[in-house]
Symmetry: C2
DNA sequence: ACGTGTGAATTATTTCACAGCT
DNA sequence: AGCTGTGAAATAATTCACACGT
């Protein structure tokens, strides 16, 4: 309807990265153009939903032609702020934190892990070239390194305290792997990764 | 409204595990009773939503009193099939797969990892007492061990093939860590764990 | 007096269907 | 002829508000 910043529903925002991923796949297969019909087929959704989602931001398609993949990708990446990179930190360097630090996927997508924190500094002070610092130095490092995202991989019991501290230090987004639902101020964004909740929802359907 | 099995919205099912978790917390703090008002406050949702959610399954509360925590917990656990344990397997024993196998939280909640599969059997044939087998023996092990859930931790490019194979072997639920959206038959349940999509949605809000 | 359970009202989201551009 | 963008219609989810049981 119009491309000025309004309040776009979260549910729409959450679908955009899926479009980006699929368009990237198509691009890497040298496809240059796609219709909402075909994209909907690939994503198991309806063409109408895709067109309606895009319509919140502008007019990206050409009637009779569909969407130019390069152009649409660029627009969506711009909307989602994917063209800049985001400095991040990991808090909690247990097994999960180490797996997160070792995972290259974050860097590939522009989420740069600049430092990790733990209560106790382990013997090896570095994992995959990321230095491990004491949580007590968190505030200082977050400010100096201009860190905007905190990835939380501490036990549930410690998570709220860590998150409060991250936010107080200036972090604007939390990716929370702890199995709990944190309390977060409105100006900070939080996403929870909680495989146990997913499995428990899944169990409902397993016995039918 | 009534407690016979109807089609309950997914969105309602997905909230139930959160109620279970919070009720467990309250129970461990020796609280015996709670109102929808208080529970809503803890979960940052409305009392009306909680009552409406429960009303899909029956009448669990007492007017003027609220809910008995033990009773409500038992009812919710029964609805979600959390009182049985579920045999599971992990496919893909890279760093992520190893972290999943090492994580004790699945076992604690009744999701028992019975075996892991990989294309290449590593030198150490066991992780946290879980044996690693060849993917080519998957069908046999899944049937013999009565495995109902497959946890997929292979690269995205291999995931659809692995998932097809799991389903063909009789698995009824997929917990997919690969960054892709698999195609799944209607009688199988699938949940995706995709931190990159979460971060990309989050990026939209970071720059406002 | 308190707090559930639930129809009714409201708000959000999806789908329809078609005018209009290429 | 094909396919977008979008109001209107349909469907889904949330919230209101209150009768009723303890």
């Amino acid at each position: 309807m119009n491309n000025t910043e309004q309040d776009i529903p979260d549910i729409v925002i959450n679908r955009l990265p899926l479009y980006v991923r699929t368009l990237n796949d198509l691009k890497s297969m040298n496809q240059t153009t796609i219709s909402s019909e075909h994209l909907g087929h690939l994503l198991q959704t309806t063409p109408a939903q895709i067109r309606k989602d895009f319509s919140h931001f502008g007019k990206f398609g050409k009637q009779g032609k569909g969407y130019n993949i390069d152009y649409l990708l660029e627009e969506l990446r711009e909307i989602l702020n994917l063209n800049k990179s985001w400095n991040s930190c990991v808090v909690g360097v247990g097994k999960l934190g180490q797996a997160v630090i070792n995972y290259q996927g974050f860097k590939d997508e522009g989420y740069l892990i600049k430092v990790a924190f733990d209560i106790s500094i382990p013997k090896t002070k570095t994992i995959s070239d990321i230095e491990i610092r004491s949580i007590s130095d968190m505030n200082q490092y977050i400010k100096t390194l201009d860190i905007k995202i905190g990835i939380v991989t501490v036990p549930a019991i410690d998570a709220q305290g860590v998150i409060d501290r991250l936010i107080q230090s200036g972090v604007k987004g939390i990716l929370n792997y702890a199995p709990m639902k944190p309390i977060i101020p409105k100006n900070v964004s939080c996403m929870n990764i909680d495989p146990i909740l997913s499995l428990q929802s899944m169990s409902y359907y397993l016995d039918k």
